[in-house]
Symmetry: C2
Subunit: 212 residues, 2 copies
DNA sequence: GTTCTACCAGACTCAGAAGTCTAGTTCGAT
DNA sequence: ATCGAACTAGACTTCTGAGTCTGGTAGAAC
């Protein structure tokens, strides 16, 4: 007699609540979001939400932390592809750039950044939650890869951290305007073009031999 | 007997309300912000706010529009400094970059971007209000200047719009992380360093003679 | 079978805030 | 002097939403 929703058993209600909470918080903002709406969206009673998380504020923090963890995982998986294979470095960079842009432009990524911007004044600790779990580490990991490429002679980056920052900047710098803060959908072809342009400029600045 | 506040007469209550509204909206977010708080901050009765703007939503739009206008003016004034004088182009670019960063990192700028991010889902038209008045036009104006510099032989930018986008990206790309979305204060020296690094990379990519 | 735990549906309390209304005040113009 | 427009202080209505509580159900452990 159990409905399709409850069929999975009693486990991972928690995860369902976190997902629904992030969705609703992102859509409506913290203040407008109703806990009853979140509960309904998660297919759960309001009291269950409170028994799991205590109050709305805690729910926000946990939902954001979970979302940041998820984003970090995806980003690191992309950065891991940046290895010195037999292929052309330019192609590899363009591919990694494109995939990073896909991560950056995912709905959940925009939602996370918007939500963070929105609530940073009320909950300053959200910054640390997200930064320790996502933003900072990606640049760091990227810097590691660039440093390796430098050592191997494929790049010339005296300051790998700066190079990583600028690579990410060239990729994502124009996306806020292009994507209307996530309200406009961007075609893959445009992401490829942006990545190509970014790699173009990046390699002009950091190619090992100052040729051409 | 009139207090110092009311001494200026009945005029420009409107502007005081707009300023206070932006301040409070930015600090608390649209939903949390109380119209009575805004009125108090503006040194005005709540009824006066309603007689001027009708409702809270209109007040938000007008406050954001006014703030965007202000930001645009400041940014354009900076871009106007990008001319081909006798000086070194690098110095000029670094100066313009530094000043653009100062605009970007002004409290009101962070507040505007955060507020826009926060309310973009509830009020999608805010995007057009701000974009038509600010973000888009700055890159445009910058592209014009870069095109001129190209024609004069000081730069090599086949696509001035792309070059302008990338210049801005190199400048501002790392500021979100550095400034903690505007919660951390950034020393001038760091802004100068970021500008120098950006111009470095920019010139490597777009200098007219592919020398060195 | 009993019991314990997690859950559900919904009623309930309480606080805060939008927007309205009233009565009185100040200022400029005629 | 007086009239009208803009303003003030604050009471008032109404609604929304956080968090609590109650009574009842389902499944798992024993």
């Amino acid at each position: 007699m159990s409905g399709a929703v409850a069929a999975r058993g009693r486990i991972d209600k928690r995860q369902a609540i976190l997902d629904a909470a992030f969705l609703v918080f992102a859509r409506e903002g913290y203040a407008r979001a109703g806990v009853d709406v979140i509960a309904a969206e998660a297919g759960v009673a309001k009291a269950t939400v409170y028994s799991h998380f205590g109050d709305k504020e805690t729910l926000l923090r946990e939902a954001i932390a979970a979302s940041a963890d998820q984003a970090l995982t995806q980003n690191l998986a992309v950065v891991d592809r940046l290895t010195v294979r037999g292929d052309d470095l330019r192609d590899t960079l363009e591919d990694v750039g494109f995939r990073l842009l896909q991560c950056y432009c995912a709905d959940r990524s925009w939602a996370l950044r918007r939500l963070l911007s929105a609530e940073i004044n009320q909950f300053p600790d959200l910054l640390d939650i997200v930064h320790s779990r996502a933003a900072g580490r990606v640049t760091e990991a990227l810097a590691d890869r660039l440093a390796r490429l430098s050592v191997a002679g494929h790049l010339h980056t005296p300051d790998p951290v700066l190079a990583a920052e600028q690579f990410v900047a060239l990729l994502t710098g124009s996306m806020d305007a292009r994507a209307g803060l996530g309200t406009r959908r961007i075609p893959h072809a445009e992401l490829r073009a942006v990545s190509r342009a970014a790699v173009d400029t990046f390699l002009k600045a950091f190619a090992p031999t100052p040729r051409q």
